[in-house]
C-alpha cells in the first residue's frame, strides 16, 4: 500500500500535523511519499521522498494550483490514498482532489479498524465506521488523533509550478487582535460556554474565575454571540492553553474546543448533559445546570 501525504507549512515551519500523517501511514504499514507547498529548502523529519512546490509561486492559498500539483504527483506515484489533516487547509483541499481523482473521501478519521476508518458523528457522541467504495480514496485525519512519528530527514525534489489565472486571489493574512489578556500564561482558567444562555449570565462564570484567582475564558459560541471578546477564546481557532486548573462551564466540548484545552493538568466540567463530549477529558464532571451550581461553588470558595 502507498500513501501520498499532503503536509502543511505554517508560520515558517513544517507543521507538526504532518508527523501525524506519517504515524497514520506507519499504522497502516504503508509506504509513503509527501508533498508540501513550502520553501524549497525544507527538511521534514521524514524517511522518504518529499515533493516541494515553491510557496513563493504557488502561494499559501491557491486551491486549484495546489490541487493540480497533488494530482500531478498522484499520477507519478500512483498512491492508494491521499492523506491530509482535517484542518482549514485539508478540508478545503481534500474534496477538490477527491472529485478530480474520481475517489471517495472520508473526513476526520480518528481510528483505523480492520474493515475501514472510524470517524466521529453528532459532536462525537456517536461514531461511524466507513469504507471507501472506490479503489482509491482521499482521507483527512482529526488533529491529535494519531501520535506524531518523526524520522531522519527527507529527500527533497522540487516541482515546477504552473500558475494560471483562476479568478481567485489570496491577498494576505489578517491576525485577530489580542487585547491585554494572555490566557496561555494563566494558571487557572474558568471558561464560559453556550450553556450560560445569555450575556448577562457571563457574570456568574466571571465571579467563579475571580474567586479562584483565574482568568476568564470562553468557547466559540460565546465569542460568536459577542458575549466575550475573541482574545478569550480557547480552542483551535483561538488560544491553546494548558493551565494547572481548567473549569469548563456549560461547554459541550466540540473537538475544536477540546484541542485547545485537553492538555490542562486538571479539568473540571460543569454541564447538564451527561453525554457531552467534554466528559471524555474531564477529571471531575459535575452534572448540573451551571446557573444553579456555579454560584454555590463561588460562595464556598469565597468564604
Amino acid at each position: 500500500m502507498k500513501l501520498l501525504l499532503v503536509g502543511e507549512y505554517k508560520n515558517g515551519n513544517v507543521d507538526e500535523s504532518f508527523y501525524e500523517l506519517v504515524a497514520f501511514a506507519e499504522k497502516l504499514g504503508a509506504e509513503a511519499v509527501a508533498f508540501f507547498v513550502a520553501p524549497t529548502d525544507i527538511k521534514p523529519e521524514f524517511n522518504g521522498k518529499v515533493y516541494v512546490a515553491d510557496v513563493e509561486k504557488a502561494k499559501e492559498y491557491n486551491p486549484k494550483v495546489h490541487r493540480d500539483l497533488v494530482l500531478k504527483i498522484a499520477e507519478t506515484e500512483n498512491p492508494d490514498y491521499i492523506v491530509l489533516s482535517h484542518s482549514s487547509y485539508g478540508w478545503d483541499l481534500a474534496p477538490r482532489i477527491a472529485f478530480k481523482w474520481d475517489a471517495g473521501q472520508i473526513s476526520e478519521i480518528v481510528e483505523v479498524d480492520n474493515d475501514g476508518f472510524v470517524v466521529p458523528f453528532c459532536n462525537a457522541k456517536l461514531r461511524r465506521l466507513l469504507k471507501p467504495n472506490t479503489e482509491k480514496a482521499v482521507l483527512t485525519l482529526q488533529s491529535g488523533a494519531f501520535a506524531p512519528a518523526k524520522a531522519s530527514s527527507a529527500t527533497v525534489e522540487t516541482l515546477d509550478v504552473d500558475v494560471t489565472d483562476e479568478g481567485l486571489e489570496f491577498t494576505g493574512f489578517e491576525v485577530v487582535e489580542k487585547g491585554g489578556v494572555d490566557l496561555t500564561k494563566a494558571e487557572i482558567i474558568v471558561s464560559a460556554g453556550r450553556g450560560v444562555g445569555k450575556k448577562e449570565n457571563i457574570e456568574v462564570v466571571e465571579k467563579l474565575a475571580k474567586a479562584l484567582g483565574g482568568e476568564l475564558g470562553a468557547s466559540r459560541p460565546v465569542v460568536d454571540a459577542g458575549w466575550l471578546p475573541a482574545e478569550r477564546q480557547v480552542g483551535t481557532t483561538g488560544q491553546t492553553v494548558a493551565p494547572k486548573l481548567y473549569v469548563a462551564c456549560g461547554i459541550s466540548g466540540a473537538i475544536q474546543h477540546l484541542a485547545g484545552m485537553k492538555k490542562s493538568n486538571f479539568i473540571v466540567a460543569v454541564n447538564k448533559d451527561k453525554d457531552a463530549p467534554i466528559s471524555e477529558v474531564a477529571d471531575v464532571f459535575v452534572v448540573a445546570d451551571l446557573l444553579d451550581f456555579v454560584p454555590v461553588l463561588t460562595e464556598k470558595l469565597s468564604s
Partner: protein
C-alpha cells in the same frame, strides 16, 4: 443576482443519541430538529446581501423527508424568496458525493452567481458538500468564511485558519462559499415575516430527477464510542457536590 442557499435540517446536538435499528445512523425519532447552525449563517449572509444590493433572488434548497420543509419555511421567514424541497426519506444513507451530485444537478441550469452553504453539518460534519458542488459545477469556492463583502461584481472574503489568523481572498463570480460560525449575527424571524413565509413559493422535487450516481463511501456501522477516561462524576444537590469538588481540588493541590 441569483443566489442559492443550501440548508440541512439536523437534530439538536444536546440530544441523547442512539444508533438506528439498521445500525447505520442515529435513531431519528424523538429528536428536536432545527436548521444546521452553519447554514443559518449562510441564510443570514444571503439576506444581508439582498438588503444591501437590492436586486437579489434567494432560493433555499433542502433535501430530506417532509419535516425539512420547516427548515425551508424558517429560511423564508428570515428573508429568502423561494424554497425548493427535494424529497428523500433516506438522504442520511447517501454519501457526501451523492448529496453534492443532487445539489449540483439541481443548480446546473439555474445560473446561480453565489451559492452559500454551511462549512459542515453538525451531525455528519464531513465538510465536503459545498466544495464538491463547486467542483461539479466548475465554480470557484472558498471555504470556512468569517467575512464577506460584495464589491463591483467581485467578492472579498476572509477564510478562517487556525490560531486567530484569517486569509483574505478576492474572487470573481460565480462562487460557492461555505460559511463558518460567527460570520454574522443571525436575526430572529418576526411574526409578520413568519406569516409572509407561508405564502412564499415552496416547490417539491422528486429525488430521481437529480441523483444519477453511486456512493463513493459506504457506512459499515454506527456505534456509541467507549468512554475514553473515567473521571469522577458528581451528581446531586449543589451544596453537597460543591463541598465535594472543593475537597477534591484541595486534595489534588490545584487550588
Amino acid at each position: 443576482m441569483n443566489v442559492l442557499v443550501c440548508v440541512k435540517q439536523v437534530p439538536d446536538m444536546e440530544s441523547k443519541f442512539t444508533v438506528s435499528s439498521d445500525g447505520l445512523w442515529y435513531d431519528q425519532s424523538d429528536l428536536t430538529y432545527k436548521i444546521n447552525e452553519y447554514d443559518e449563517y449562510a441564510v443570514e449572509e444571503a439576506v444581508r446581501l439582498k438588503e444591501k444590493t437590492g436586486d437579489v433572488t434567494i432560493t433555499v434548497l433542502s433535501i430530506g423527508p417532509d419535516r425539512v420543509k420547516e427548515a425551508i419555511r424558517k429560511a423564508l421567514a428570515l428573508g429568502a424568496d423561494k424554497g425548493a424541497h427535494i424529497k428523500d426519506d433516506e438522504i442520511h444513507l447517501k454519501d457526501p458525493f451523492q448529496v453534492a451530485t443532487i445539489i449540483a444537478n439541481y443548480a446546473k441550469d439555474k445560473s446561480f452567481d453565489i451559492i452559500f452553504t454551511g462549512m459542515q453539518s453538525e451531525d455528519r460534519g464531513s465538510a465536503q458538500i459545498g466544495t464538491l458542488v463547486a467542483e461539479m459545477l466548475g465554480m470557484n469556492c472558498v471555504t470556512t468564511i468569517v467575512g464577506f463583502e460584495y464589491v463591483d461584481g467581485k467578492v472579498n472574503v476572509k477564510r478562517e485558519l487556525e490560531g486567530g489568523i484569517r486569509a483574505k481572498v478576492t474572487s470573481s463570480l460565480p462562487i460557492v462559499l461555505t460559511c463558518q460560525l460567527g460570520l454574522n449575527t443571525v436575526r430572529y424571524p418576526t411574526l409578520p415575516n413568519i406569516m409572509k413565509a407561508k405564502r412564499k413559493e415552496l416547490k417539491e422535487f422528486e429525488l430521481s430527477e437529480f441523483l444519477n450516481t453511486d456512493s463513493k463511501v459506504v457506512t459499515l456501522k454506527a456505534f456509541v464510542p467507549e468512554k475514553k477516561k473515567g473521571g469522577i462524576v458528581l451528581e446531586g444537590a449543589s451544596d453537597e457536590i460543591a463541598d465535594k469538588l472543593v475537597s477534591i481540588l484541595k486534595e489534588k493541590a490545584v487550588i
